[in-house]
Subunit: 412 residues, 2 copies
């Protein structure tokens, strides 16, 4: 290890800033880098008692408020906006000793409209996925070991799959999303990216998520669920998923094929009805105050009542609630469900990609983790999702850890 003239946290922050300086003209993960603030925070941390995230450098998706940093939502409506308070999800990381490096690029309002400019570090002609584009790219490219994301459809898990990193969307409601742009109350969830499960788990701890109950790791039982949209996946996506499933079986993990789950007939349609109707409330004020600066995508949401009636919204909420119960009954006795994270590798361009493999879990409020276990065409990453019942977040991470250990041991 190279000796630096700096104390450890300061050295760590210098290294992150250097990496960003050397790479971000290409990757464009960041909308704002707060060199001075990060170095000042590092200096203070180098003189204090270490917390559970002591000196960990963090990127924050630019739909989440960080005190004193621009909060643009990648929208022209917020170009000059600088909040004075951290969002609680940021303040909690800071109180644990993390250093906020800056703000990462995002699809406009983590929703639609403008795409992020960020590139996939594995192939800069391709998207890192969205909406948490910059956060995923920043972690995948080694700028920071941790970045905050959000998911309303597939905005945390899909970029993790495209970028070959670990991404975690916790159960709905466990992490505060105050100070985070609202898109849809019933769906919006703060998630995060890291390069290993240990960091994912440490952040759960900092956010106060209940510890995992012990489980018998010698008898792992994973349900393999190809979803109703399997035929629409790219061939390399199918091959990658099957290779992971086969590797798990070879590694001594019991895999159980899960055929159709009846709940899945309506989940994506109901997700869309709720997304658009809750989006109507979320974007109304902007549509009223500055219609000219609000992207047409959001005017569509504000006018969603014409497409999705009150009766349709009621049906979607009630069917989703019943599906949560039904789904959890269907997977009782399994340690987790294995499902595709995306139809294939990251597409060319800057469009964020297809969310239909992620939306059902968001609507079910289930915790989901992306494991970067496969490759598709051109050697690009494809991940797989492990899913668990609501609030089994920590157990899911423990199961994921066991899966990775077994696969690593089997491949030696």
């Amino acid at each position: 290890m190279v000796q630096t003239p700096y104390a450890p946290v300061t050295a760590n922050v210098h290294a992150a800033l250097q990496r960003i300086g050397g790479r971000d003209a290409l990757v464009r993960a960041w909308l704002h880098v707060d060199d001075a603030g990060a170095l000042a925070a590092a200096k203070a941390l180098d003189q204090s008692e270490p917390g559970p995230l002591h000196g960990v450098c963090v990127g924050v998706k630019d739909v989440i408020a960080v005190a004193g940093m621009p909060l643009t939502h990648n929208s022209p409506l917020f170009s000059g906006h600088v909040p004075s308070e951290d969002a609680p999800c940021v303040a909690t990381l800071r109180a644990a000793g993390a250093v906020i490096i800056g703000k990462t690029d995002t699809t406009e309002f983590a929703a639609a409209g403008r795409n992020a400019a960020s590139a996939n570090p594995h192939d800069t002609a391709r998207t890192p996925g969205g909406s948490s584009a910059g956060s995923a790219a920043a972690v995948a490219d080694g700028h920071v070991p941790l970045a905050l994301a959000t998911q309303t459809g597939g905005s945390t898990i899909r970029p993790a799959s495209f970028c070959g990193i670990h991404g975690f969307k916790p159960s709905w409601g466990l992490v505060s999303r105050e100070g985070v742009k609202t898109y849809a109350n019933s769906l919006d969830t703060v998630g995060w990216y890291a390069r290993d499960l240990d960091m994912i788990d440490r952040v759960c701890d900092v956010y106060g998520l209940a510890s995992a109950e012990r489980f018998d790791s010698s008898r792992l039982r994973i349900g393999v669920f190809r979803t109703p949209w399997w035929d629409e996946m790219a061939p390399d996506g199918q091959a990658a998923f099957d290779s992971v499933s086969a590797a798990m079986a070879r590694a001594g993990i019991e895999t159980v094929e899960i055929a159709g789950l009846p709940e899945f007939a309506h989940l994506n349609d109901d997700h869309r009805a709720i997304l658009f109707r809750e989006g109507a409330a979320a974007f109304l004020a902007l549509a009223r105050a500055r219609p000219d600066l609000l992207h047409a995508d959001f005017h569509l949401r504000v006018d969603a009542l014409a497409t999705y009636s009150d009766a349709r919204l009621r049906e979607a909420h009630d069917r989703a609630a019943a599906a949560r119960v039904g789904f959890e009954r269907a997977i009782a006795g399994l340690d987790a469900l294995l499902a595709p994270s995306a139809p294939g590798i990251a597409p060319l361009g800057r469009s964020p990609g297809e969310p239909r493999f992620n939306q059902p879990w968001t609507l079910l409020h289930a915790p989901v983790i992306n494991l970067p276990l496969a490759r598709g065409d051109a050697g690009m990453p494809i991940g797989v999702s492990l899913v668990a019942p609501r609030y089994d977040d920590r157990r899911l991470i423990a199961v994921a850890r066991e899966v990775e250990l077994r696969l690593a041991a089997a491949s030696i």
Copy 2:
């Protein structure tokens, strides 16, 4: 009418400020009054095209962000905090031509901890109720014709009952609560106070709530639901409720006694489990960053996992979702349900009062309106609640209007 040297909106704002100046030493509705800002806004409005709330003066509960005004949440943690952006629910009113006069006192974080200092204008020894104490008092005392409130348990409807004004809690999810202090994701709802149903309805319009479908106002059918806690009501509360129910029958409204609704066995317990567990996420950051300044009530919530397990939270959510469907089936065919808004008149002191008559509707996501139709001991106001299925908000207001018309006609 007295002629003033001012243009209409400016005159209107002057009158509100004068009323506040004359009364607020006694009523203490306001934490902050922005004379200069309100007069500047009035001047601009006097030179522009009138919007749907042209010149309407508004008080905003101090858990809701208003650009450039202090946002204290009645907590020592936020004593110096001034946000730079309006909450969307405020921006929408402003875009409709409303004038934001200032911030009204609230129970700490609209939740627990410190009580508001506000007094009930009908008897200043008594509470106006809480948590939306100042907003209710400001409307009841004639400072402003409209004030924003929030409800997570009974924080909009109960103060309306205690203060003898109209209060409305819309269906969950229809009005943006971004920029509003989060307490519990599944429950928090922005509501408002006014002195007549016309204003309540106009604000619905501005917030984009679907118009009411026509109904046959000649054959009004109201379910009378005394709730499982009827025996715990004060005698004057029972008498007031029964007098309203009897008056409705005399006025030719068909009243149908609703006996026990099975859903009500668990609603308050489930409300509490969700409230505390979602509150854990909401207050974690403050507990981590400044434990000394956070009231013990909120530390209780942050530690809620010890009291309400993940399994209990799942049960509460699932049972609430089933109760929504069951409740709406049970009242199908009725135009609204009549229920108590509070166990009796406003108590002495500053404690906000008992929320158990309000919490079930909040958990059911149902729209509720308080009608100031009765009096209890010492001539103090007691209201009644009219409740409807989710999203029938505008129809509920139309029904309430018809009820008031009928009662007024019958009493002539």
